[in-house]
Symmetry: D2
Subunit: 351 residues, 4 copies
């Protein structure tokens, strides 16, 4: 099988490191460059311990990599939104397809972007090209996509839980609540007192209450599933652990349904999905079952009368299904490869 | 000042240990017995390292302690509900006042108790005597109480957050959601694989979804604050840390109000409260600020229009304000002592 | 390539789970049975999420597996020593080669075994067959071995650090000290209060001081490297983390040598080893660099004069290079397969 | 009882925060100033939640505090060594006694200081005044001391373990090894990637191997106990926890002795010490038993023949007995107060 050349920008962040490792081991990918702010001149072997040809690759400065991107089929951007906004058009015009892991191209409404990201929105023509890279929703569109907006970590967990039940008409579209918690790698690599061990170990707290930038992303996508606008409240919490997102989502039943029926509906929705599993109960969904893998694990409970409360619990690894793993899944779909390629050797970190 | 004789049942659990230490150091309390399933014949000094007269006290079997309870002003029960149900009447008839830290006497509706605790409810006459031991709500009634139902840990965090805003008419009584997480000491001392280090470290998960026994307790109390029944969904999560409860509560504004107005209302409600502090924002509420103390820290954010979403975050130490510390606070009120007595030498575990 | 049939006993412990997953994904292995105390009748897919043919395999009771072992080339025993002692002869007489991960066959001196394991030693004829499964020492012997004693976790870390420098005559054989610490998975699956989250989180302590059963194992092997008996003190500590062993070993220089010379000597010793890496300094050796992989990372510092102190630091994942990973490495050597087969897709859990 | 005025420099570090809290609650101390790099103009109540008069005190800039120090009986310096070296003479000449918590005045040999601290040594006349503030060794000298060098955290743990057995002639003075591990607060407040949560959680590693500045401090003090120079190797490790130091020390018996005899000798040495406890075995020494308190817990095991190995395990809270708590203990002795004053309300953080 022919290999395809790919490059990574933002390779020295935690997501970029995961992406580099996944692509270094991908059976069909050939890493052509890994670009980042640090490690320039060091090899992937030295930094990440990767063996084989990808291990010999040296980290390069981003500008040098842009020049090389014209020879790549796809570039993956694990960069902040403002960097992605600048890079993506330059790469696209060189004929290189782009998977962007930042929030730069996820929001179709530019005003929402500017409100939550405090940065001018991407030009509408560019935004119009962007395909939201949630394979469980958009598999067909991904094959032809030139610009993929890889979903946020919280949105991935929330949408996979709520989306199918909204689409099937089980849930009211008002009063959705997503209460979620993430491990500290979700905040990226930090040299700050706030993210020091002593300030976080044993702690638990919220951040960006009622103003988290993933709120409009979740709303937008749930609206697509529901076929109507939804009303959403989202709260993010910081867990004193390395990896993992657990989202507890609340909605109301539009019509009477038992937990068993909702579980069946979810199982039907994900019957052919390689990376989504529906547990028999929400208590069976836990971070240790998914951390280290590209899987999402879901479970649901409800009060069965119409108007009754539905509680959905979903768990993912924020660096994998919530970022780098999903990006590789999208890459596979863009290039017509087996969807699980490069992802099926991942293993849970448990025990 | 004269000391008053007190006794502890269930002294060998985590809550019982906290209670024993607090009472051993209380300036007005004289520990007359500490009863429990283990350590019988060992001294409090040997087990807990306490100095002074309380250190010399030997742990006794519960039956021996019942006989002695007649000479005590108050007995504190850190026992399971079914044990408390059996003990409390025997102690009361010996003239000993009772603070029960289990859920045995918290629910005024016996059917609710039976539904959630899977055990016959206490006799109505006994239940009628029970005063719910949340000083911020019930201070006056506690002075004369003979049987105090010390609040649950999750209810303490949730009620202190939502109660005043319901009482002041800021919040709708429907659609309340309390999404909370507790450290592992909240589950008590366990010799099970499920609570082993390897099964919990790095994990995060829900438990007892839509069937947690603290749900009716929170509802009942919030109903008292609101002056009308409330509709509540409560979800408990298990945090991979030792201590602390953080509750994120969701409600809707009955009338327009800003976060600043809600903060002011909370500050007014707690102006004279020694153990409740209102933070300027929910993001400032975190476990590290309260663990080790009897304090509750609160913060609120909202969408200011009528019908807008309110998010309240509250944090306590589950073993202190959520159990043993609040029991001592109740004891102080029952005996007419300074409310902070025996609690003001506690310190945050941070750094 | 033809697959070879293999079986696992003790498949429901933490080591057995790792072993099952490694073999389920091994390109040349065909899992014929997984036997253990629990999960009998469940599939490997249900328990571990493994896809493919191995996922369809059902856990069986140990006795049923013994009958089947005659059709297997190798059985791997992740069982307690007393179980391994009973199982191994029965399997060997059925023509099945054995890799035992317990301490049953590691000590060549039966009296040492009885002293440290409090159990009658294996019969000398059986013991005489056992090959100590440290590939870096015994690669040649493993090809023909019928009974392999897979090394202990602490011994692996200690021997890989001290062995080559003893063999090369750099170190005195008296006064060796190994001070090591292990994550909690090293203690296996436990349903005891002692290993509960609350009793271990944030703690650090020693155990079995001057009486740990890995002491004679380390001594015996270091003696082989040194060509003379060694004198060793070993102390084990329990770290409040899931995985990883870090060993800090102390010795004295027999002749003057710099840290750079010792580092070179170690690098020469491990030049062709796929799973041992020598870091430029002991401070660069840390658990996060090895956990999740089959690698051992080593570093050395010293006071360069003759008689000067040498400090060696080595790190492994206790469940992989310290147990299941090394067992697969041994299996590969026994069957003439690529030594890294089934192990090179492992990845560090960092970040 | 008259209160005495005191001041703290370096009040915004982790040790300075502990010191401020201890002194704010000390029954005889009156905090006159708290000086530090941050929080200038904020009150101790705002920052630390302290009630009472000390809570009203505002943080000041260090220079303003120097002027005020002339009205204080004692200033406590929780500052880096180079700051302490500059501050101490200025305070002493104003008639203010000094307890310095840095390493500036601990080493009597200026060349050792310069070698390990990379900074010019204090003038000999100043150094000559400094009393090493280990009450268990130097209680008498502390009463008159004008300049107290508060011991390092690792030295406190190591010296309390090895000192008495060296003094009683049980141990050889050669070949001492101290292998110790500290929680992350021992590194102070850090805004660096190296000390971020993601880089430390789940990790364990050494640092400053064979070059840690506590090595000459431990040697110097053990030499005083032994009455002869000792030879010492010391290795520090970083534990992924907040607080606590556990030291495992290795020595050889000069004459035959059992563990019971060594335990008795240690108990005799510490019979009247309020803050040192000898456990019946080294395995009973653990961080959870001491963290939160000013106590040191010790235990010993040995091979009883002459020349046999002795293993001593000792545990302290690095911020309390290892820093701020011991400073208050020294303060009490300097001012003729009860030695446990301000320290006996501390409680273990367990459970």
């Amino acid at each position: 099988m022919n290999e395809v050349s790919l490059g990574v920008f933002g390779a020295s962040g935690y997501v970029g490191m995961e992406l580099t490792r996944l692509l270094a081991r991908h059976p069909r990918a050939r890493l052509a460059f890994v670009a980042g702010e640090r490690w320039v001149g060091s090899s992937v072997r030295q930094v990440l311990g990767e063996e084989g040809p990808a291990g010999e690759l040296l980290y390069t400065a981003p500008e040098a990599a842009v020049a090389e991107a014209g020879r790549c089929a796809v570039a993956l951007l694990a960069t902040p939104p403002e960097v992605s906004l600048a890079l993506a058009p330059r790469l696209l015009e060189r004929g290189c397809r782009v998977i962007d892991l930042s929030g730069a191209f996820r929001l179709s409404d530019g005003r929402e972007f500017e409100r939550y990201y405090h940065h001018p929105a991407p030009p509408p023509a560019l935004l119009a090209q962007a395909v939201y890279g949630l394979p469980e929703l958009n598999r067909a569109a991904l094959a032809e996509a030139r610009l993929v907006a890889n979903p946020g970590c919280y949105p991935t967990a929330a949408i996979l839980a709520l989306g199918p039940l909204l689409r099937e008409g089980f849930l009211e579209t008002g009063s959705l609540i997503v209460d979620a918690a993430s491990g500290v790698t979700g905040a990226g690599r930090r040299a700050s007192e706030e993210y020091s061990f002593v300030e976080l170990e044993g702690d638990f707290r919220t951040y960006k209450v009622l103003r988290h930038q993933h709120t409009p992303e979740i709303s937008q996508l749930l609206g697509r599933f529901a076929g109507a606008p939804v009303e959403l409240t989202f709260t993010a919490h910081l867990l004193p652990i390395r990896r993992g997102i657990l989202a507890t989502s609340y909605a109301r039943l539009r019509r009477g349904a038992t937990a068993a029926e909702l579980t069946l509906a979810l199982r039907a929705a994900y019957r052919d999905e390689p990376f989504v599993t529906v547990a028999p109960a929400p208590e069976r969904v836990s971070l240790l079952r998914v951390v280290g893998t590209n899987h999402c694990l879901l479970g649901v409970a409800c009060e069965p009368a119409a108007g009754g409360r539905v509680v959905l619990v979903s768990a993912i690894d924020n660096l994998l299904k919530g970022a780098a793993g999903q990006a590789v899944q999208n890459l596979n779909l863009m290039l017509g490869w087996e969807e699980t390629s490069g992802l099926n050797s991942l293993r849970s970190f448990y025990p």
